[in-house]
Symmetry: D2
């Protein structure tokens, strides 16, 4: 409460707290009086109290997420997808082109990343592009090519879904649904992938806090879809020498706050091919459970994200470096001996 608030205003706040089904607990300090709200505050908007007469500030005590928290589940979750697993001691590597552009480009990349040691094949069929004049992805044709390439080389496919009405189709062509950064707060879509019961890779919004990421996860979990992996992919900051800022702190912090596996996308988080391997090494050193990396046989001809795509030989070098880092932190790449 504000300094000098009269008793009547404090009583009114208490009455409102009790009306909402909580108990109130008053604590009088030297300069301020605090009214504690006893109960599960999650369903209540703290703003409802902020507007009451004499209230200076409302402070949440509980984290607003529940199913995603370590309070709810102490041990780390393991998420099995197409025979591989995220969240064990093995580090999982997802790799492939930003967009599926053609059969030739996709198959060439798929074989290359498989050979270099990737565990999943990524590739976008529906591309959210900031310009309506840019390549928007091949759509259904891209999905079909991806499913075919994945089956041919023997890697589970991960691909993005951008509209609630597409979830069912995309689910049938892939082992894992990706929610992209621009859709982290697209709740209609989150509800739908929650209901799908298909594994989900949820990317952090480029300007979303870690708490908001966990709230987005909560949307999916509360449909009882627990096959969920989180992805740090860089955040927007004042720094513009790189496309985004890889929030490396998020990796160990998410490890404290949630039981969900966490992977890192060093391609988007740096935006520059020459920085991707350093970002990948840092991610695994900091405790990431996996990586998602853009690879293209000819980055200078890519229809999207060329500047941050690795050539197959660069990707193979990255895998070797990451293998050494994994060993240094007492882990290993998925498929290597533990």
């Amino acid at each position: 409460m504000k300094a000098g608030t009269e008793a009547a205003a404090i009583d009114a706040v208490i009455a409102r707290v009790e009306e909402l089904g909580f108990r109130a607990h008053v604590s009088r300090g030297a300069e301020r009086t605090i009214v504690g709200v006893i109960g599960d505050e999650r369903p209540v908007d703290p703003e409802q109290f902020e507007i009451l007469d004499g209230v200076e500030r409302v402070v949440r005590i509980l984290q607003p997420y529940k199913l995603a928290s370590r309070d709810f589940k102490r041990e780390k979750s393991q998420v099995a997808v197409g025979g591989a697993v995220f969240g064990g001691t093995g580090i999982a590597i997802v790799a492939g082109p930003c967009s599926v552009e053609s059969r030739e480009q996709l198959f060439e990349t798929a074989w290359a990343v498989k050979e270099a040691g990737a565990h999943f094949l990524r590739g976008g069929a529906f591309k959210p592009r900031s310009s309506p004049y840019s390549f928007q992805g091949l759509g259904q044709e891209g999905l079909d090519l991806l499913a075919e390439a994945a089956a041919t080389v023997g890697l589970p496919a991960v691909t993005e879904v951008v509209a609630p009405g597409d979830v069912d189709t995309v689910r049938r062509s892939s082992a894992m649904l990706q929610i992209g950064t621009r859709n982290m707060a697209n709740y209609a879509l989150l509800h739908e992938v929650g209901r799908s019961n298909h594994p989900v890779l949820l990317k952090r919004g480029m300007s979303s806090t870690i708490q908001e990421l966990l709230m987005a996860a909560e949307y999916i979990l509360h449909h009882r879809n627990y096959a969920l992996v989180l992805c740090e992919r860089g955040i927007r900051t004042f720094e513009n020498a790189t496309r985004f800022t890889l929030d490396i702190n998020a990796v160990p912090l998410l490890g404290e706050l949630t039981h969900l596996p966490v992977v890192v996308d060093p391609s988007h988080a740096t935006g520059k091919a020459s920085l991707v391997a350093a970002g990948a090494r840092a991610a695994v050193a900091a405790g990431a459970d996996g990586l998602i990396v853009e690879v293209h046989p000819h980055p200078d001809r890519a229809l999207s994200d060329g500047a941050q795509s690795l050539r197959p030989d660069q990707f193979a070098a990255l895998v070797r470096e990451v293998r050494d880092i994994a060993r240094a932190v007492g882990r290993h790449l998925l498929g290597d001996a533990a």
Copy 2:
């Protein structure tokens, strides 16, 4: 090109430029050589060049948007919606509750804002909420109530649509479709409202640049839906004493860059009822074409955004203040004498 790049690398860049259908223009400076790309660069991803050997940096010369630009249309657009107009000398005021909560709440608010001088009634039926445990809106029932209230008090209704599949339904219940801040880059939704040919109020993403806002507008315009109004609603910054930071610079800058009308939402941009009127006055003083303001008969009982909602008497005071500011900048409220 980087310092010391060899002629062969420069030639390769030129070849690539020409292969893509442009002409190249080479300019040699004291320390750097620049390869100019002559032609309409919009459909091309600048990153394609960034990855070429010897390239240091790629600089876009043209703005990536076209239909939204003042180059494309010099005079300010006027957007007529339900008998009123955005973008003329009159300032338009949209007001109403954040969410439609009940018939009583909505009608009480609708009559109050109408009486205070609002020109449009706002109210959300589909609410994007950061928590799945918060009130998510009344959905279809909310839409029906909104349409009824709007007809009863005689104000056109503005309401948010959050999923491509809902556009048609929402269009039938409202005079103007609102795209909320979390959906500014939801391209599936932008395509759909573009195709609807219904007036659109496009809110800036809370972490989107002005250029990205104009690119989102371009998505709608290129479906030939020109009934488009932009909305500055506060951006996310390091400052956390207010919910968002009202980017007042955006108002005159958008006036230079685009012909589209621009309104401001001081409720979200401040997040605090006591700051809303100041934000509204500033917006009109800076050249905004309108305002969108949250009003609730009992903000302390609002199911969403209570802290930033004005009581009807506070809203009436805001209208009076804004009327004076409008006069001071040579404009007037819609419906007042010019």
Copy 3:
């Protein structure tokens, strides 16, 4: 305290609270226990508690500033400087060149801003420039010219001081010391201007929160130098279409939190001459007590900040527009009839 913390850990926290001279107040909620700290917490680093076993989070209740707060002084402060006053009903306008470049440039500007209606003359002699290769100001010669021009045209001078050792010299040549945005957290300098007992214009750090600005003010006030005016001058955000983002919310919010007068610098806050007048109008509409504006007779020849400097005729137009806005909010320009 974290969920499931044992009683012994809570007791240890209580013991530490009491050892530091506070009383502890324990409140047990449904999922968390809270230990309240009763007493004036300002001198204590909250982090000291964060590190204790079982502590989940520490929340400050009191604002960390005291002398700057409205709790300490309810009524708005009026700061008299050289015959004029900041913080009354009159709006004060400070204008002049970014840098003092030459006698001719300075006198031409000084006469022009005086004639247009400015109340103070600004001009920098010590310029903090991001490049060592840029013009660094005329130093002592600049100070002397400024003092002479100010005396000649009859306007009090405001100028920046950048090093503790210069405070005494600069004080003798000016009516008001400016602390620039890069020095808001230069505590050695704040102590020195605090001790000087000379009026101070304290600019907000371009990446400082409002609370940090008030803490910087506290450094000056606790030397009993109360002749202090705060300045919002734009903050750094992700938006790069403008040089900075004018935080217009800061104006009414500072009005709630502090008794100190608040002025706005629309020149730096926008960085673009064509946006300055809109920023100035918005500032006064939002409640600012004054403006500080860069004016140059030939902006295209300015040695610093040319892009955001107004020509004298543009400045005169700004003053006229601001006069109308001041009237619309029940105020007036200093020197005009109330």
Copy 4:
């Protein structure tokens, strides 16, 4: 130039370019005309052109720094300080308390970090604190204690200097001068440490871009003080779950842009003891040349930065982890066999 600019305006720009001693090079595109400026543009403010009639935008081609760039010096610099070296294959570790608080605290920490493998002793005597009510450091007494402890345990001392007038004194008590984050743009101080010819550890401003960091370095280098090490210490972003955001991208990017050694401060960059080791591992994995870590024998009694200080046993564990990471990237800790 803007679309449709007349020839006379273009000629005026060319005339101005030539008047300033450059050559102009005109390139006409499909929609825009570009005027290139041939020559060393560094001393010229690009804004001078921005204000000219018809100019749409000014784009710098050269980086504004020179001595700090890889253009100027291709090979990585090695900076020798007190018998150790930054920038070779060995990783340097600087450790010690945030503040020198007492003889006992300092010596206990100094022996502990020495034993755990640190190569430098840090400790602050002059503390920039956001509150005037917080502990401000022991000043001269702290410097004397630091010099004594460093000599006793046999580690070179690194300490912060905050005012130009203190540079000489601090130089005499330490092997390396630290410029803290709040003073990165304190040019009066940068000039003075540049002139001192003493080794400098320059921390990035918490809201400074990488380019601004390199410009601050340029201030020191142009006094021919080349004994300069840069430090990434976390930047301010919208994320508030951690104190700052460790910009891990800055490590490899600085490695591309500059020849200067780069160290990372994971203590400030995370602000939370439990995240420091992960940040340290990530930094070395990404290519950092060293670390600076806060250690305190009793973090819960620290007078500053307790929440992010490691206990000696935690620091010893960090050194072991970092040693393994260094090996994984083909490097080693200073003093270990190469």
